[in-house]
């Protein structure tokens, strides 16, 4: 019995429900040495900005119990480098691309989105609003409903493809921010971005990250992410969700789908095992076949909860 792993993301059909988490896959070239990128429904590339960003000093990562902290500072070569170098490579590899865009001002988001209009093979934009807003005392766009609405509405006007708002879990009400993004024209929600955290090396009394505060990822945050997906799906049942946060294998992926994810993204898993993507897809196939479930989508949001 053939099983259907394809999913519909805001009108775009992905042959596989597994995508990459932005910033955890570069642009795919490196991992192509380990697995067939076609196993992914799409490659979500590292967030790109208008100009190249140098990123933060080192150390940029610290390991924590069942997780890791990172403070990269969005180092990237800029949207033009993406269009000239990375995208053509991805097109040749025949993998659909979701372009993650970032900026420190609304205008910067708009410029990047405009550069990406009609870019070949770019099936959607993911708007990384977990960025400091220079026009609002460095508050994260994603931490304020109004700022979120402004960025999303502006990108919506500039973009020619569906846009997903990538939410930060470090807020009181995820559904409020998700609602603001959706009302402003986002077709879907990606979550979660990393959880703020910090670690101190007691021998030196220094933060383990040069950036002091970083983002926590990996299995440690999975329960936080599952809850986030569950809440947002409950509030907006018809909105496609790309769920991520500590997914290491196909069973974790299924947990996210039951919670309400349409597709799942692998981030930290790629660092531990660069062939995770292929293994998760194969695991999902096996799981559905063994249980005679025809399609993964049928399991979406099916966690048994009263009322």
């Amino acid at each position: 019995m053939p099983v259907d792993l394809s999913v519909d993301l805001a009108g775009v059909r992905l042959r596989s429900p597994v995508v990459t988490a932005s910033g955890c896959f570069a642009s795919g070239r490196e991992v192509s040495e380990f697995m067939d990128l076609k196993m992914f429904g799409a490659v979500v590339v590292k967030s790109m900005t208008l100009e190249p960003w140098p990123g933060k000093p080192t150390p940029r990562m610290a390991e924590t119990p069942s997780g890791m902290l990172n403070a990269i500072g969005l180092q990237n070569y800029g949207v033009d480098h993406f269009l000239q170098v990375d995208l053509p490579w991805l097109n040749r590899a025949e993998v659909p691309v979701i372009a993650s865009i970032a900026g420190n001002t609304v205008q910067e988001f708009i410029y990047v989105a405009e550069r990406l209009r009609d870019a070949p093979g770019v099936i959607a934009l993911e708007v990384n609003i977990s960025c400091p807003n220079l026009e609002d005392r460095n508050n994260m766009f994603a931490h304020d409903a109004k700022a979120t609405a402004t960025v999303i509405a502006s990108v919506r006007r500039a973009a020619t493809v569906p846009i997903f708002a990538k939410l930060s879990p470090n807020v009181t009400s995820l559904t409020e921010i998700a609602g603001a993004a959706l009302d402003s024209g986002a077709q879907g929600i990606s979550l979660i971005n990393t959880v703020f955290g910090m670690a101190i090396d007691i021998r030196t009394a220094r933060p383990k990250l040069a950036g002091v505060i970083g983002g926590l990822s990996g299995p440690a945050i999975r329960p936080i992410a599952v809850r986030a997906v569950f809440e947002v799906h409950k509030a907006f049942p018809h909105v496609p969700i790309i769920g991520m946060g500590g997914i290491m294998n196909h069973e974790d992926a299924i947990e996210f789908v039951l919670a309400g994810a349409t597709a799942v993204a692998l981030g930290t898993a790629n660092f531990i095992n660069p062939s995770s993507g292929a293994e998760v897809v194969k695991g999902l196939q096996r799981y559905l076949i063994e249980r005679g479930i025809g399609s993964l989508s049928a399991m979406r949001g099916r966690v048994k909860v009263e009322g």
């Binding site: 570069a26 080192t58 990269i72 977990s130 400091p132 531990i272 095992n273």
Partner: protein, 281 residues
Amino acid sequence: MIQQTAQILSHKKVGDEYFLLTIVAPEIADQAMPGQFVHVLPRKDANFILRRPFSIYKVNRRGEWAATIEIIFDIRGGGTAALAGMRPHDSLDVIGPIGRPFAIPKTRHSCLLVGGGIGAVPLIFLAEKLKAAGKRVDTLWGASRASRLLNPIDAKRAGTISVFATDDGSEGHHGQVTDLLPEMIERCGTEVIYACGPHGMMAAVSNMALKHRIPVQVATEAYMACGIGICMTCVQPVWSSQGDQIVHVRTCVDGPVFNGARVAWDAFAPKAGLAPAPPGN
């Protein structure tokens, strides 16, 4: 780069402080070059999740066994403790060989290897290759104390002239390798320098080499997550080819071997964390 589940062939103590693991990994062994490293996952069910990087110490392609690689390490934390606890026949998930190896000079002949503590590991492998290429090899080994010198017997044999320095004077010169460097360069007529060890030592060696107008290659370390070039956690500040700006280059796949003259030694992690700015991945 190859990812494989490899078997531990043997496990032994080297001196008082180091462990040596011999790993059956034919494909990796076939490609391995001095300066490259392997990224290993000590355990899948541990409270730590990331791989651990280790320089390739030796490669053995001959013998009745399938080709093996060797790594040497000391126990620092959970990962190295888990590796130290492995037994023959246990299996280990290994990725390698990773990164840019040391370049073997085409025209220049006299090579000086400067190693600090465990930093000697990739240089032992390099010494072998250089000699095979008919080069002259001299060595300068430093450590905090004698017991931190990586197998002094091999180390001594590695060089035509081989000198030791320890911070506590328990072996060889009482002081640092850099005290002896200028004199060694004289004695050996050094034309190329290779260094691996603590950050400060590699910085000092690079600066001296620069003064003597001798090319220098360093094998660096960095905290790294993926080890394959996709996370950007492991970057080093390096001067751009135009030398006009400092760029962040990945240690794992663009290094770990760099031109010592290009590394921006002073641009590293500040003594304290920066004034906290909003985090960004």
